[in-house]
Structure formats: structure tokens, C-alpha cells
């Protein structure tokens, strides 16, 4: 039965594993070059000059390949699951060959078990190999992008999980719908929905987020409005910049007082009447979690107005007898043993070891050469 | 070696047709003592009929004492058709020819003669059955 499963599956397997080999060759050729660049520009940047410039220059290398690989690792597990999972049983049901297959000397249970097992294993193997290759190739990039949790979905073992999910969905759809094309279409839709649901509605609740309080920093708090797929500011307001916590998944950043009340526009207007007069000074801060940000070049005077306002708000909301303003950050810090020194040196206790387990493949720790950014952090 | 054929429209069951054809062959001298009948496999290959049919026919012929099966070799004719009625053939044939002449003189064409003969034959036979 195993031999026959391989025979039925042979062409597809050869095509896919052949493609994987091509990808492997491309990565093997370009990979060492990237590492070399890293070692010469980014690793030594502290010694001579601006590290953030070195970072962004480095990240521009092979940018197209980076994007292509990201797309590949996101898409391939799903595609494999759809093309290998859906026709597994549906193909036989559709063409009537099940009447031939189930009347030989193999019971139906064994037939199904072998097919599911063999092809399922192949699917996860493809995803695993691809992920392995891409993770290896991207390790210099990931080291530079330390604060980027977004790559969680396409590194290490996560694509394997998605491949298994897509395959299982495909096989199930095939059995229920009994026709290959409708099964493939259904699997595609269900898989995409599942991924979206997992990322936005399941994952945030898997563990309790760590709640951090940080002081408002006038130098990096901006002013403007933002809108993302999932939230918007509904008008101009103060926007704190996202703190740099390596590999942390920051789910939200807000301004609130000690009691947890948010900063209202009325309070802002009363505290800083001069703000917003020139059509909204843009921020010096960086964008929020994945949002589009209205920034515009403003005069030095407007910037001063903003900084004064933030300092004022921060003071009024801070300490004293009244409410204090803090910048709570909900995040999932991902810990890697070697990363500790890099983040937030004042309070080493910042990283309670709460969070998803560290990924299977570790890159060797190499301390990053420049200090963390301007936000002071206080454990809340 | 003789060859069998099957008349699917005669209404006679296949095994009986085989029996009849063997008897006919014996009568007409196509089969003599010691001749081998076609093997079951040969008959099946030629006629695409159930091998049991052939076996049954050969068994009946064996019962009638006309053939004998030699296991592993085949089925062979044991004696020529010493039909005592063979002697009566000559005079019967002459009677028939006279009758035929009479029927033609009465104006019957070939078809009518055949129909008359068949009908009389059948009713005479069924009187024996019923």
C-alpha cells in the first residue's frame, strides 16, 4: 500500500521536492553573502558611526528575495495542503476508482491510514524543509530586526503546523464534498479564515499578556491620527511610540492614567490648547502596531508646542496627588537566553519568562552593539 | 475433431444442443470409435459457454454409453452409433420422398410443407409429454 501511494503521488512529489532543491540552491548561494555583509557592516557599526543607518542599509539588501521568501513560507504550506490533501480521497471518489481500491486485499482503514500518513508526512516535511532553509538564510536579517514579532508566522516550526492544518482541512473537505475542485476551493477559504482567526482571535488569548507601564517621552511621542484594520484613533491625539522590546509581540499601546482611564480629547484640549493649531503637527514617534500613520513635516515651533504638551500631560498625569499617566504596553515577550542583556538594562526583571516557548532553532547569541532606545521602562 | 455451434434462438438449452450435435455426428459418421471429443476448454474457447454445460452434456453421453472420459486425457467415443433404427432409415426415407411429392402435387410451397411438418411433429411429440 505504501508503494502504491508513492506511485500515485510520485510526479507531484518530484515536482515539489525539485522546486525545494532550486530554492535551496538559491539560498545557499545568496546566504553567505548576507552573513558576510552583516559581519562587516552591522556587527561593527558601534565602532564607526550610526547603527540605525547601518541597520537600514543592511536590510535593503536582497530585499526582493526577503519578500519572496516571506511570501513563499506563508503560501506554500497552504498550497501543499490544498493540492495534496483535497484530492487524496476526493480524487478516488470522483473518478470511481475507490470501487477498485477498496476491493483489493487491503481494508479501508489501512488504506486511509497509509494515504493520510504518507502524504501528510510529506506535506509537513516540505513545509519543514522550506522553513528550515528560510529561517537559516534570514538569521542575519532577523538579528537586525530584533523587535519584529511579525516573522513568527514564517519561521521555525510554525509553517509545519500550518501545513498539517491545511492538509487535514483538505483531506476532510475531500471526504465530505467528494469532489476535488470544490474541496480545494473550500479548503483554501477555510484555511485562510483559520489563519486569520488564529492570529487575531486565538493567539492573543493563549496566554495572559504582560502589562507594562512606561513613562511618556516627549521626544518620541507624536500627534496625529491613525487607522489600522482593527482600530482607529478617531481623530488627532497623542501617539506614543512603540517601545523596542526584542521579539515581543506588542498588542496595544495606549495612554492611560493610574486608574486605567484613557486620555480623552477634552482633557488634551484643556491641557494643551495650542496643540493642533497648525493643522496638526506630525509626530517624531514611530508608528503604532501595524497602522498607517499621518505624518507631515512641521515647523520647529510646532514641535516645541507638542513636546511641552507631552511634558505637561506626563506631569499632571504622573505622580502627585492626582492620577498618573503611564503608557501601558501589552506585550508577549519572547525570550532567548542570549538576548537578555540587550533589552532594558535598568531593570533586568523586565522579562518575566511568560510567553510562547522559544523557537526550536536558536541563532547563536551575539550581543547587539548599540544600547536600547530612549524610552525608559518601568515594570508595571 | 468436430466443432460445436450454439443456436440461441432454438429454445433448446445449450447442453441438450451439445448432446444432439454429438449424436448427430455419430449418426453421420463424423465421429467414429476412438475419436476424441473436443476438450471442455476448447468448447468454452469457441462458444463462450459455461464449462459446466459441456461437462453435463458429456456426462449424459457417458450415461448413454456413447463416450467414456479418461481423466487427464479427454473424452473418447466408445462405440459407433449402432442404432437399430438405422436399418429403418432406407424405407422411411422413401416414404418421406413419396409424401413430399404428394404435397407438391397438392400445391404446397416449401414453406407450407415445412410448417405442416413442424406442426405435426410438435403436436405428436407434446402428446407424448402431456
Amino acid at each position: 500500500m505504501i508503494r502504491f501511494t508513492w506511485r500515485q503521488f510520485r510526479t507531484q512529489a518530484l515536482v515539489v521536492f525539485g522546486d525545494l532543491a532550486v530554492v535551496a540552491i538559491v539560498l545557499a548561494i545568496t546566504g553567505p553573502h548576507l552573513v558576510h555583509l552583516y559581519n562587516t557592516t552591522v556587527a561593527t557599526c558601534g565602532a564607526h558611526g550610526d547603527c540605525s543607518a547601518a541597520d537600514s542599509a543592511f536590510l535593503k539588501n536582497d530585499r526582493n528575495l526577503q519578500i519572496a521568501l516571506e511570501a513563499l513560507v506563508v503560501v506554500v504550506p497552504g498550497i501543499i495542503g490544498i493540492f495534496w490533501g483535497a484530492p487524496l480521497v476526493a480524487g478516488e471518489l470522483e473518478t470511481g476508482t475507490f470501487r477498485l481500491a477498496w476491493t483489493q486485499g487491503v481494508t479501508r482503514t489501512r488504506w486511509l491510514a497509509v494515504k493520510l500518513g504518507a502524504v501528510g508526512l510529506a506535506s509537513t516535511a516540505v513545509a519543514g524543509l522550506l522553513s528550515l532553509m528560510v529561517t537559516w538564510w534570514s538569521s542575519p536579517v532577523d538579528r537586525v530586526n530584533m523587535s519584529n514579532f511579525v516573522s513568527f508566522d514564517y519561521r521555525d516550526i510554525v509553517p509545519i503546523g500550518y501545513a498539517a492544518l491545511a492538509f487535514a482541512l483538505g483531506a476532510t473537505a475531500g471526504v465530505l464534498l467528494r469532489r476535488t475542485l470544490p474541496a480545494m476551493a473550500t479548503t483554501l477559504v477555510t484555511f485562510v479564515l483559520a489563519r486569520v482567526a488564529l492570529t487575531h482571535w486565538v493567539r492573543p488569548h493563549l496566554i495572559t499578556p504582560v502589562h507594562l507601564d512606561l513613562a511618556l517621552n516627549p521626544a518620541s511621542t507624536g500627534y496625529g491620527s491613525y487607522s489600522t484594520l482593527f482600530s482607529s484613533s478617531g481623530g488627532n491625539t497623542l501617539q506614543p511610540s512603540t517601545p523596542t522590546i526584542p521579539n515581543a509581540w506588542i498588542t496595544a499601546t495606549q495612554i492611560e492614567d493610574k486608574a486605567g482611564r484613557g486620555l480623552t480629547t477634552q482633557y488634551l484640549r484643556s491641557a494643551c490648547p495650542k496643540l493642533g493649531g497648525n493643522g496638526g503637527p506630525g509626530g517624531g514617534g514611530r508608528g503604532g502596531a501595524g497602522g498607517s500613520h499621518q505624518t507631515s513635516r512641521v515647523s520647529a515651533g510646532a514641535q516645541q508646542v507638542l513636546q511641552d504638551c507631552v511634558a505637561k500631560v506626563g506631569k499632571t498625569f504622573h505622580g502627585g496627588g492626582g492620577v498618573s499617566a503611564r503608557q501601558p504596553v501589552l506585550g508577549f515577550p519572547m525570550v532567548r537566553a542570549g538576548d537578555l542583556p540587550r533589552c532594558c538594562p535598568p531593570s533586568g526583571r523586565f522579562l518575566p519568562l511568560v510567553g510562547p516557548p522559544p523557537p526550536l532553532l536558536r541563532r547563536s547569541a551575539e550581543p547587539k552593539r548599540h544600547p536600547p532606545t530612549s524610552n525608559t521602562s518601568k515594570v508595571g | 475433431m468436430i466443432e460445436f455451434h450454439l443456436d440461441t434462438r432454438s429454445g433448446v438449452s445449450p447442453y441438450l444442443q451439445v448432446v444432439h450435435q454429438v449424436r448427430q455426428a455419430l449418426r453421420l459418421g463424423f465421429l467414429r470409435e476412438g475419436d476424441q471429443l473436443p476438450t471442455v476448454k476448447d468448447v468454452v474457447a469457441r462458444l463462450a459457454i459455461n464449462p459446466n454445460t459441456v461437462l453435463k452434456a458429456y456426462k449424459e453421453l457417458e450415461h448413454a454409453g456413447l463416450v467414456a472420459a479418461r481423466p487427464g486425457i479427454g473424452t473418447f467415443v466408445t462405440k459407433t452409433f449402432s442404432d437399430p433404427s438405422l436399418a429403418a432409415h432406407g424405407p422411411l426415407r422413401q416414404d418421406l420422398r413419396r409424401w413430399l411429392a404428394k404435397a407438391r402435387r397438392a400445391g404446397l410451397d416449401d414453406e407450407s410443407i415445412e410448417a405442416l411438418f413442424r406442426d405435426s411433429f410438435r403436436s405428436a411429440s407434446s402428446e407424448g409429454v402431456a
Binding site: 477498485l100 483489493q104 489501512r110 | 440461441t8 463462450a48 464449462p51
Partner: protein, 298 residues
Amino acid sequence: MTAVLEASGLGKRYGRRWALAECTLAIPPGHVVGLVGPNGAGKTTLLQLAVGLLVPTSGTIEVLGARPAESSAQLGRVGYVAQEAPTYAGLSVADHLHFGAWLNPGWDNHMAEHRIEQLGLDPNQRARKLSGGQRAQLALTLAIAKRPELLILDEPVASLDPLARREFLRDLMQAVAEHDLSVVLSSHLVADLERVCDYLIVLCASRVQVTGEVEELLATHHRLTGARRDPSTLPAGQEVVEASHTDVQSTLLVRSDTPILDPSWDVEQVSMEDLVLAYMSQANNAERGRQSSLSALR
């Protein structure tokens, strides 16, 4: 002798319709069994129940003394060719033989290759390029080469041209002669079955109408022609299957174990086709009667 197929009260229902109902059979071994009936009568359903592709809604069925498809051993003893002889379109003839070898414990590869050679099939040709007759022969090869005790064929020659049909039946009969197989084959053409079957099952309106050895059925069924008469006046032991009357004449098809001695009847033999047709029209009449009594109740 244990029956090759034994069914007791077997039934299969889809929604509200019974595709097969109250089917009770005991097919003796060593026969070529013809399962005959009109389309939609339940022949395919019965055969699929026999090979385990369907599960009964009611009653039981046992094939070669075991539940169909319950184990690898049982599956190896039954060969099956479904309607239209499904094959893997993209695989070659040789691949199909490998399929048979890998999936069947009792596979006789020498016989399979010999048969393919005799049939003149190119081992490297894809199944989708074969003609209907060639595909049927390939499917038959796969079923025979696993050395089963029982062969079940669902309308194997329905879509074949006359020559292909004759060749298929000839090969089948040769296999029966060589390997002492029992065969159950279904058809809606009686003429095919007359030359190969020695056991008959007539299935009509989802029910078994008559079963038995062909010789016995032909010996016990007679056509009676005579003056117009009420069928109920016949003595017991003479069961009327079909009756038709004109104003002066009656023609009856009767089943009787004892010879019919009444001189007022013209007694004739019936052909298998007449016998089957008579039972089928009886079944249709019964079904119509059942439907009208049901609608009368509503």
C-alpha cells in the same frame, strides 16, 4: 456445502426509497450466477453490499462465510469489477499489475502477465488510452489474478461492442474452467446470460422474484395455451406467474414441479428470456398494485 453468498432479509434504503428489500438468498458454490433485472432494480446495490462498498440498512449478508470486506483475508478471496470497470486513468497497464501485486496477498503475477500478453495489451500504455473492451479485460485480469474463490461482476459487458462482449465472456468462462471459480454477474440483457449462467436470480422492483438452477427453472416452467379459463381454477401445485387472455383464448406461464397432464392445455417449454420477462411483469403488476393501495389509503 457452504453457500458463497448468503443473505437474510437484506435491505438497503436511501432516504425513503428502498433500493433493495427483503432479500433472502443462498447461492451454492461452483456456479455461474446470473443476476438479471431491469435498470434500477437493485442489482448494483446487492453486489455492492456483497463486496462491502455499502452497509445494509436491514438484514445480514455473508460472503464466503464472513462479513464483506471485514478483513484483508476476506477481501483477498473475492474479486470484484464495478460497473464501467474503473481504472486509474494516468497509470499504465503495468502499473495496474503492480497495484494488484502490492495490494493483494494472493497475487499470481505470472498469470496476470500471461493474460495481458494474450490480450495483446501494451504494458506501458496508460489506462485512459485503452478502449472500453480493453479496460474491461484489464479489470477482469486484476480480479482473476488475485486468485479469488468468488468473482463478482457488475454489468461487465453492458457498454461493450458484440465482439468485445463475446471475448470477455469467453475469457471469463475459460477462467471458470481453469480455476474452479464461482461467479456472480449482473446484466439487464438476458441473451448474454443464457449461454454462461447455470443459476439465475431475477431481481425486480427491489425484490428477488425467483432464484434457482437454470435447468430446474426451465424444466418446471411451462407455457399453457388453451380455451379461455380462469387461472384460479388450476389445481394446487401449479402456480401462475403470468396470464393473458383474449375473448376465446388464455395463455398462462405456470410453475409446476409435477408434469401437467391436463389434455385441454397445449404445454410448451419456455425460454429463459420468457421466464425472466414473465416474472418481471408480475413484479411490476404487484408493485403497481402496492402503489395504488397505498394511494387509496392516503
